[in-house]
Every structure is written in C-alpha cells, then in structure tokens.
C-alpha cells in the first residue's frame, strides 16, 4: 500500500502546526520522520490516524483520496498506530488486549479466548515478536508492552504502521530488539513511519528520512547523511554534537554515600550496599539500564525514600536523617528523571515553577506573604539567562515544549547556591538544541566547583558528560570506570558482566586519588 499526503495543513487558532506537508510512504519502507519536540510530527500523524481533522490537503491511499473521520476509519484503511503512551488495559492478558474491540465469540456471547491466543501466537511467529499471549500486560516490561501494541495493529491488518517516538521509553537492549522487529516487518512488506528525534536510530534503520521543522517539511534525505547534517536540518542551525569540556579538576569528596541499602514498598532490596563519592568539580555519571536501582538511590539521596542502612554525608556532614526540604537547603540541587511527574507543576506559571523549592526563603517572601515582585524579577532573569522560550512568565509550564520545560527545572536548580547537583536523565525527551544547552550548563556548574552526579541510561550522554562512570546493575555499583572505556565493555558491565574485565579507576593514571 502506498500512502501519500499532499498539502496537509492544520491550524490551531493562529498557530499553524502543519503547513502544507507533502509526504509519500512507499510499500515496505521505513520512513523516518525527524524533528524536534513541537515541530508538528505528532499533529501530522494524528491527522493521518483520524484523531484530528486537516484544514487543508489530502491523504491518498494507492492514489485514491481518502478521509478519516475517526481512528476506526484509519484502521479500516490499513493504518496502525503505536502511541508513545500505550493504550493497553493493564489487567487484561496480551490476547485479551489484542482482541479488544474485535472480540470473537462462541455461541451465547462467550469470548473465544483460545482463538485470540492462537491469533497472537500466529502473528508473533510470523513477525518474530516473542510474546506470551496469556501474560497479564501489567506484568510485562515496557519493551514487551510495546510489542503488544504492535501486535494489536498487525491483528487489524495494518499495512502502514506509525510508531510515535517508540524508543523514548526503551532500554538500549530493547531498542535493539525493536530495530530487529522493524526490520522483519519491512521484509514482510509492512511500511513503517518512524517518528523520532534521535539521529543515531534514524541512521541505523531508516530507508528515507523526512525532516520537519516548525510544521514544515525541510527536506527528505537518505540515511547516508551525516548526523551533523541531520541535526542542522532539524534545528535550523549548526549544532555541536560533542560537548567541549576540559579535564576535571576534582577536589575533595562532597557527596559521600557509604554502604547504602534501600528497601522499596514491596519489600524488595533495590539498592544494595552502595558506596560512592562525588568530588567537587567532577561529573560522576551513574550508568545502567533503567530499573537497576538508580531511581531509588537518587530518591534516597534526596530524602524521598528512607534508606534501610548506610549513611549519606554532604560536605562532611551526616545528612541521613534530614528531610527533603532540609537537604535542598543543605545544598543539593535536583533535576528529577521525569519532569512532568515531580519536576514541575504543569498548571503553575513559569514564574511560580522557578521558585517551587525557594518560595519560603526570604528572597521571595516576607513572613507569610509572597513577594510577587521578587518572583517576577527572578522569572525575567532566568528566562533570559536560560533562553526559556515562553510567551511570558505567567504562561503555564504545561504550554511549553519539553525542552523548555526542562530548562525551567534546570534554571531553578542552578540558580541557587548548591554544593552538589543531582540530575536524573537531564535530557530525556528534550530536543537536540536544548540538549546542547543543558549539557553546557551542567559542565559550567562542574567548572564552578560543584560536585555533579548524573544518572543516564543513554550511552551518548554518559560519554559526553562523564569524568568518571559508575555502572549500576541489580542495585549494586558493579564498577567505577573512566570514560575512555570502550562502548562494548560498558555495555557488558550494564548487562551484569563480571567487573574484573573492566578497567577501574585505580588502574587509571588520570585518577590520582583513590578512595578509602
């Protein structure tokens, strides 16, 4: 099936989200749609899937004009979509989720579960998508849940599959698996529209690449284009993909974690006897596949989770017993891993979010009364300093793009005196331009003598920022290595390989000091 879009336009009020988009998806190709957050990729796909009505333009299937009033029409026409946020019923099995909306019954309206399970098995054999049809969706890891979504689309005989930022939630291993699934789908003749803003993935799997910027098609190119060419098309100017950074001038240990053990609400030991030092003026990156205890370790450092054992010291003071507010006041700056979960308040204005953890200080309040003038002045300064693209200090943060939302969080945390910066996935879901900016600010903070602890699951970021790398696996720090380690080697550590194979800082001449 050939899918063609001509002159598709969508306006929201005075804002043109899509401006005369032309796009052709040939049968059996992986067509990458590359663009920054807010460039209009999702709007385009929502029109294609019948979720939004185009204001102008046409969708042609095999040359015939077609309109989709609802997603049902789009599915009928052979278009399947895997949303960034999965549309699955967690308490249903895989087979039940796949048959949802198109249930087969045996007399008396009884569900024909065996048939559904068989369908799932057939499909997963044909496309090499290993899934257990009887598993409950809520018990499956994210990568497998995504496979269920793909199966759902395939069960509806989708010939064009739209994957909306499918890798945003996956671990490196799961991304590899997804890539091979996409490969086998392509071989069986299914076309894929792959929406992303990650250059590496586009080059790896794409057949053709269409770049969208500010609602317009900038151009279509081949995966042979270099990453910097693609980045420039996407952002509209030259982008430095490698961050400039001088060697670290590490001082004394500022954040000292010794023998920390954390047990979660379900009674599982998620952080096991972790000891780490983060020194002034260095960036220690905590690498590892998501879900290996990094989240809990960071929460324990912030005081959001109580450790079962161990001690946390900041600048020589034991802060294990301090609550979150006291720790923030002690000098911890914190950029959480999921900003919309606990990094900012979407309905609050930029101005309010910029003082979310400082409103009670003398700078921004007098007694019980907020000092609105001081808050406004602070907002003006931060918006300028951090180049936050907002309509004004009173716009709700939810109206900003992902990158600008993250800049609000970063601006807030870096604009108060801190001794240590703890940042979890500081550039997740952030566009290329903002990644560059945020990385520079983090390195700037290091050069000012702040101890920096970063959690990252993206190896690119790990190598871009780190002065030392600590690898976490299954709740333990399995190795502390220097950033000149090979990618493969760190991959092995992340997968839980024995530490003896990897280099440790003690072997490294650059690392003069050894920790007691």
């Amino acid at each position: 099936m050939q899918l063609e879009i001509t002159g598709l336009t969508k306006r929201f009020g005075s804002f043109t989200a899509n401006d005369r988009i032309d796009l052709t998806i040939e049968p059996g190709e992986i067509h990458c749609l590359l663009g920054e957050n807010g460039a209009g990729k999702s709007t385009l796909m929502n029109m294609l899937y019948g979720l939004l009505d185009p204001d102008e333009g046409e969708v042609l299937i095999d040359g015939k004009p077609t309109t989709f009033a609802t997603p049902g029409d789009a599915i009928q026409a052979g278009i399947g979509m895997v949303h960034q946020h999965f549309m699955l019923v967690p308490v249903f099995t895989v087979a039940e989720n796949v048959m949802l909306g198109r249930e087969q019954t045996r007399g008396l309206g009884l569900l024909n579960r065996p048939a559904a399970a068989k369908l799932v098995r057939d499909l997963s054999d044909r496309y090499k998508l290993a899934v257990d049809p009887d598993a409950l969706v809520q018990d499956l890891p994210v990568g497998v849940q995504q496979r269920v979504e793909i199966l759902k689309a395939l069960a509806n005989n989708a010939e064009v599959l739209i994957l909306d930022e499918p890798t945003a939630v996956l671990t490196p291993q799961e991304i590899d698996e997804l890539m091979s699934i996409m490969d086998s789908l392509r071989e069986s003749g299914t076309s894929i529209v792959f929406i992303t803003h990650k250059l590496r993935e586009v080059k790896e799997i794409g057949d053709r690449i269409t770049v969208i910027r500010r609602g317009k098609v900038v151009g279509t190119t081949q995966p042979t284009a270099s990453e910097s060419q693609l980045a420039e098309m996407m952002v509209g100017r030259g982008v430095k993909l490698v961050v400039d950074k001088d060697p670290a001038d590490a001082g004394d240990a500022v954040l000292e974690i010794s023998h920390l053990t954390v047990i979660d609400g379900r009674g599982a030991t998620v952080v096991k006897d972790v000891s780490l030092d983060v020194r002034a003026g260095e960036i220690l990156v905590l690498a590892g596949v998501q879900g290996n205890g990094q989240t809990e370790l960071i929460k324990a450092i912030l005081g959001l989770m109580k450790p079962a054992a161990g001690q946390i010291s900041l600048a020589g003071r034991n802060i294990t017993k301090h609550g979150p507010r006291q720790r923030l006041d002690d000098g911890i700056g914190y950029i959480p891993e999921d900003r919309s979960h606990d990094g900012f308040i979407g309905s609050f204005s930029v101005q309010e979010n910029l003082v979310l953890d400082r409103y009670q200080h003398d700078t921004f309040s007098r007694g019980l009364a907020l000092d609105l003038a001081a808050m406004a002045a602070n907002a003006r300064d931060r918006i300028e300093e951090f180049d936050i693209r907002t309509q004004g200090p009173h716009s709700p943060v939810s109206s900003l793009s992902g990158g600008n939302q993250q800049k609000v969080v970063v601006a807030r945390e870096l604009s108060r005196p801190i001794k240590v910066l703890v940042a979890s996935q500081p550039t997740r879901g952030v566009d290329v331009g903002s990644i560059e900016f945020i990385h520079q600010r983090i390195i700037g903070e290091r050069d000012r003598g702040t101890a920096v602890l970063i959690v990252s699951t993206e190896l690119d970021e790990v190598f871009a920022l780190s002065d030392r790398i600590a690898v976490m696996y299954d709740g333990r720090v399995v190795g502390i290595v220097s950033p000149d380690i090979e990618r493969d080697e760190i991959g092995l550590l992340m997968a839980g390989a024995e530490r003896s194979n990897a280099k440790t800082p003690e072997d490294d001449s650059e690392e003069a000091s050894t920790d007691a």
Binding site: F12, G38, S42, T43, N46, L51, L52, Q84, H85, F86, L88, P90, V137, Q138, L140, P141, V142, E165, A168, D264, G265, R266, A268, V270, Q290, G291, T295, E296, K299, L302, L304, G323, P324, R325, L328, Y334, P336, D338, S340, H341, D342, G343, F344, I345, G346, S347, E352, D357, Y359, Q360, L368, A369, L370, L372, S398, S399, S401, G402, Q405, G429
Partner: protein, 409 residues
C-alpha cells in the same frame, strides 16, 4: 517523618507507569490535577444557568392549571394558550426576582441565606485547591454550630466578649472536625471522601444525642430543641442584615489572599496540583493536607456559627438543612475560586428566597421548582458536552465529554 500512607510508593514504578513520560503529543497536554477537570468553564456556567431557567419555564407551564386548560382548546383559540403561558412564566420568574432582590427585605433574606452557603462553599473550595474533596462541610458545620450554640446559650458573658467567644467556639469546633480528616489522611492515607462522609453522620448523630441531654434542652421541656442563644451572643445587625454576610465576605477575601498571595497557599496549591512535585520541592504533603482541612473546617464552622448566632435561634436536629451539601455545588459552580464561590453562593441564596415568593405569586409555582432549578444548573454544569451541543459552542481544546473519573486515579 513518614509523609503519609502513600509514602510506600517510593518503590520502582511498575513498568507500565514509566510510560507516562516526556512531552505529551499534539494539543493534548497532561493536566496534573485530575480534579480540575470537574470545574466548568465560565461560559458553560452561565449557559447552564440559562438552560436551567429554560427547562424551568417548561415545568412552570405544565404545573399551571390555567395553561393546561388553555392548551386543551389550543386549535380554537391558540392566542389564549400563548397568553396564559407567557403570563405564567412571566409571573413566576418576576416573583423569583422580586422575591430575592426586589426589596430591602428580600435582599436581607437573600444575603442571610447566602452567607452560610458562601462560608461552607469556601470550605469546599479551599480543600479542593489542596487536592482534597471535602464532602464534610455539613458535619464540620454541625460541630461548629454545637460549639457556638453551647457557648451562646449556656454561658453568661459580657456583651461583646460573648459573641466573640461563641464565634471562636464555633470556628474551633469546625476546625476540629475538619482537622481530624486531614490528620487521618496525612497519617494513615484514609481517603477524605470516605472520612468526611462518615464524620457527617457522626456529627449529625452527636447533635441528636446532645439534644436529648438536659443541658441542651429548654428547662422543663423534653423537646429536642435547645435554649435560644443569648441576645448578646448574636451577631449585631447592619442595615437590617446580620453581620454574618460581612464575615462571609471577609472570609472570601481571606481565602483569596491565603491561596494567591501567601506561602502557605503556594504550598497548598502546589500539593493540590501535583503532590509529587511538591514533595520533591521539599514540601510536607502531610502538613499541607492537615492544614488545609483545619482551615476548611474553620470556614464550615463559621457557617454553622452563623446559623445559630445570626438571629436569636435555638439548636435543633435539622437547623443546618443541607447547607453543607449545597456548599459542594456552590464551590464547583464557583470553579473553586473565592470570587466564584461568593457569586454562586449569592445565586443560590437568591434562588431559595425567591422560591418562597414564587410560591406566593399569582402563578403559585411550587417551592420545589427552585430546588429543581438548582439541581438542573448542577446537572448541566456537570455535562458540559450537552450544554455545548445545545448552544453550539465551538468545540474547545479538550474535545469531547470527559468520562467518569475515579477519586484516586
């Protein structure tokens, strides 16, 4: 300190929940306060009121004997039917308006009805902004009235001191009942909807029980009715209106200042909109919940105190009517803002006094009609898609109807 019952959620999120990340797609932004979805837009509010009056007009017609008769010979004298219809609707709504705001006496009655509605409405509004659904204004109000009333009729104090003491007792009683809910939520995670509903029953039962006690009955009587509060414990009158309305307006201004201009309100709104972000920013969610419910109880207590101290009244088993429940409607109609709550409270006050006049009018429309009107307004406000369809409003960005929402989901 354990923040609250839910603090054990610190574990790794179930794999599925890590999906809710990153920038939401297209124009569909993720609202962090799920309860905010319950609040109507200003347009929808006014359209709902208009629509309710329209449906009310039909009800007036079918309940008017003369109109029904005139329709029986509609095809001979159609003019008759139109004339009688117009006069029935006109008479009724005219009576509704003049009965609520048409004269000094009417305005006084409206304001006195509105004052406790506003105070109790503020109790719901304030809690709502902290992310708590306070169904318990009724119970908090009853406790406030018990305490205010007892001080009012049992003690003998000098003039000004007496009313102040009675008022303070009322506030304290409400705050106690509200604070209990906050404390339970903060300490044990007990859901406030459940606890407030249950405490409503406890409050009502406590009142009934107390009214069987001698110290709460008039001397020489077995009736479940207390003594009247002492004259010097009642609110002074201003221009014929007891000063309760003044207190209500002061309370509204106070709540506005607290929410919008104070650090406490900043915390309260932050926790209400996104408790996780509040906790990460160092706020104590437990403290905020407790404080919000104490202040909410205080406001409901003020409503209760007004009911007994407004005039020289007795405490009876159903002195409070359904003010505490109407307050929920008032707060939602007022979009959980102090100003909106005041306006909605005045509207409901006017409807209930105007209803009496309507019954007495030439059309003798049943008093129940005003209750139907109130119910219709709320119904339409709760179904914005319906209102938008009737008035053909442009579809707003949130698209279609919002389906039922769970308390905690």
């Amino acid at each position: 300190m354990p923040d609250q019952g839910q603090s054990d959620e610190g574990g790794p999120p179930p794999s599925g929940s890590t999906v809710t990340k990153d920038k939401p797609a297209g124009g569909h932004r993720r609202a962090d306060n799920k309860m905010a979805g319950w609040l109507p837009s200003v347009t929808v509010t006014f359209a709902s009121i208009a629509l309710a009056l329209l449906v009310g007009a039909v009800l007036i017609l079918v309940s008017d004997r003369e109109v029904i008769e005139s329709f029986s010979y509609f095809f001979s004298y159609p003019w008759d039917a139109f004339r009688s219809s117009a006069s029935a609707i006109g008479e009724s709504y005219k009576a509704l308006v003049t009965g609520s705001v048409g004269s000094g006496g009417a305005i006084t009655a409206t304001l006195e009805r509105a004052a406790p509605l506003i105070c109790a409405g503020l109790a719901v509004t304030l809690a709502f902004r902290a992310g708590l659904f306070n169904i318990g204004a009724q119970g908090q109000l009853v406790l406030g009235a018990i305490c205010a009333g007892y001080v009012g009729f049992h003690y003998d104090l000098p003039p000004v001191a007496h009313v102040v003491a009675a008022l303070a007792a009322g506030l304290a009683g409400g705050a106690l009942w509200g604070g209990l809910v906050g404390l339970l939520k903060a300490r044990t995670g007990a859901h406030e909807v459940i606890t407030t509903i249950m405490l409503n029953y406890v409050g009502a039962a406590l009142l009934t029980y107390l009214l069987t006690k001698e110290s709460f009955q008039q001397p020489g009587s077995d009736n479940p009715r207390s003594e009247k509060v002492a004259a010097d414990a009642t609110f002074p009158e201003l221009l014929g209106v007891h000063s309760g309305i003044l207190l209500a307006l002061l309370a509204a201004v106070g709540v506005w200042w607290l929410l919008e201009r104070s650090t406490v309100g900043f915390e309260l709104r932050a926790v209400g909109a996104n408790a996780d972000a509040g906790r990460t920013a160092g706020m104590s969610v437990a403290k905020v919940y407790t404080l919000a419910m104490i202040v909410a109880g205080l406001l409901a207590g003020l409503a209760g105190a007004q009911q007994v101290l407004g005039h020289q009244d007795s405490l009876t088993a159903n002195f409070g009517g359904s003010i505490g429940f109407d307050a929920i409607t008032v707060a939602l109609l007022g979009r959980a803002t102090p100003l909106g709550t005041v306006l909605a409270g005045l509207l409901f006050g006017a409807l209930s006094t105007g209803g009496l006049a309507m019954q007495a009018s030439a059309a003798s429309t049943p008093l129940a009609l005003t209750q139907v009107l109130q119910a219709l307004i709320v119904l339409f406000v709760a179904a914005p898609a319906l209102v938008k369809a009737v008035f053909r409003f442009r579809e707003s960005d949130d698209g279609g109807a919002v389906m039922a929402k769970g308390w905690n989901s």
